[in-house]
Amino acid sequence: MPSGTVHCCEVRNLEKAFDQTVVLSNVNLAMPSGSFTVLVGASGCGKSTLLRTVAGLESPTSGSIWMGDRDVTALPPKDRDIAMVFQSYALYPHLSVRENLAFGLKLRRTPETEIAGRVAEASAILGLDALLDRLPKQLSGGQRQRVAMGRAIVRRPRMFLFDEPLSNLDAALRAEVRVDIRKLHDRMGGTTLYVTHDQVEAMTLADTLCLLRAGQIEQMGPPLELFDRPVSRYVAEFLGSPKINCLDGQLVYTNAGPHITIGSSTLSVPERYRALSPQSVVVGLRPHHLTPASAEAPQFGTLLVTFYEALGFETYVHGTLQGAGDKALVIRVDSNHRVARGDAIAIGVRPEHTVLFDPKSGRALDT
């Protein structure tokens, strides 16, 4: 397999335009062998187009795609050694499950005995043994999804591409298959590129998370890095549910040192922002970082409860920040913490959990 600098797949300076509309620009993405990369972003951000370009189903306007040390930009999909799982599964409706699995191997003139062996292996891994002689229309959604994955793994490709493979499943099944996909990846040892708009899938599956915004990579890195150290307000707001609270504030210096004011509330400034000059800022506070005030999380304001959602294992409390122009805020509390509409809760945050963004550009202020 490729050595240190050679990646399983590499996208270089990719640009894609349909007529006058630029869908992808300046995309650079390196996927080491065995890595699990997730492309995430709002609909229309170009993530599917990027995946399809890697697959060879779309050709780039400029830039190149490399598989190992081979430039495959001009090669058709069949010569790229990839397998793909489609959102609609795209099972061949006229072929049985067995024939669906064997289709790619037959096209590649694999000997019959080897086809039988590989189909049996994939079928055992995915639990398809009882379904092999059925037609796709006789399968449930979850079963079709497994056949689609089976069709990918029998090929033993260099790279797996997934295009929102779970979006047609119900929530319970989605959580289950999500785990299966990651286990399968670890077992097969292939390189995976996975497209989703679901942030839970993105966070849980990825080694490397690549967040696309309007055709460009907004931030790329380990999921928790994107979550904890977003480069922009956009990234911070995209990841996390409920969404991060963003409040307009001022970074000011007084005799007591630097602090942030949000209306009449005051926050201390994390170490990494101490070098900033006084300015307007957007303060990002994750709901789960906002807690009833305590010694570690000193109070910075009071939340007037307007609404709450008790989920059983935790409760999201919606309210307004007193003295801050009635700014809406969401915090998370333990489910044993009783809340009622009209309550006033003293809330605090650990200073290091505060992130600051430039109000105009939306960029994080510590980068």
Binding site: P77, Q87, A90, Y92, L107, R155
Partner: protein
């Protein structure tokens, strides 16, 4: 369930009206056919004295013997003409599909210069009556030395059947999700292999309907066959039939009997292919 009875009564009335209308439509469509049957099986031809419900008074099979040449010693000729009709119609169906399928695929899936013009051109050809092309076709086929030959008819029929076949198949191909082909291409197929191994099998009902339409239009066609074929051995059945109703005499009995004989193969094909046809005629209306 409180007003279930009333609702049922209303549904019953609706069902009654629908059935009455459908039965009426079936009678309207079959009444002439009943006449043909009556004339074919009657010894005295049209001598039914104008009663409303036609039914043979004196049963006979003599008309069939005349129509098939059994009683005139021409059964070998009739057999040959039957084979002419079958081969010409089957070849027309095959040739039409062979040309229309790739053309329709290109029109359904690819963008190219002249696509819209080409489609309008195809549409335009549908607006001319067949008769208008009879004379030009005669000259063309004469130049190609294809007059009086089955191949000539096949060429002419395929040309007329193509536009409809292309439109039909284009719609069928457009109804197939493009991901199926993409999956095949990722799986290792070229575009052509994806077309042959995925698109064509999935479109089989539509191909069957289109082939049958081409077959039937060739099977029933009279004007071109009468114009382009002058030897008796080269006739197709519609031309043979027409000869029973000449300028000076009209042998309605054999004509009716011949019509029935001619209808049998088409009915047989419809019967055999009905499952394919029904799914083909409704293709795209329901998501698989």
């Amino acid at each position: 369930m409180a007003n279930g009875g009333r609702l049922n009564a209303r549904q019953n009335v609706k069902a009654l009206v629908v059935h009455a209308l459908l039965i009426g439509a079936v009678i309207y469509a079959l009444y002439p056919v009943l006449w043909v049957l009556t004339v074919a099986f009657s010894r005295d031809g049209l001598g039914t004295d104008g009663f409303v419900l036609p039914w043979p008074r004196h049963w006979t099979f003599a008309n069939f013997a005349i129509a098939t040449g059994a009683s005139t010693g021409k059964s070998a000729l009739f057999f040959r003409q039957l084979v002419n009709s079958l081969t010409v119609s089957a070849s027309t169906a095959l040739l039409s599909i062979a040309i229309a399928a790739p053309a329709a695929y290109a029109l359904a899936r690819m963008q190219f210069v002249g696509k819209r013009t080409g489609l309008s051109g195809l549409m335009l050809t549908q607006m001319f009556p067949t008769v208008a092309s009879a004379v030009p076709l005669y000259f063309i086929l004469s130049q190609l030395h294809l007059l009086d030959r089955r191949a000539g008819l096949v060429v002419a029929y395929s040309a007329t059947a193509l536009p409809f076949a292309i439109f039909q198949l284009k719609a069928a191909f457009e109804a197939i999700p493009v991901e199926l082909e993409e999956a095949a291409m990722v799986d290792g197929a070229t575009r052509f292999e994806a077309f042959v191994r995925v698109v064509l099998p999935v479109a089989r009902p539509a191909l069957a309907v289109t082939a049958l339409f081409a077959f039937m239009s060739a099977w029933n066609e009279f004007v071109l066959a009468a114009t382009l074929m002058s030897r008796e051995e080269a006739f197709t059945l519609p031309v043979v039939l027409q000869r029973f109703v000449g300028e000076h005499s009209a042998a309605w009995g054999p004509f009716a009997a011949g019509s029935i004989v001619v209808s049998i193969p088409v009915m047989a094909i419809f019967y055999i292919a009905q499952k394919q046809l029904l799914s083909g005629l409704t293709a795209g209306s329901v998501k698989g």
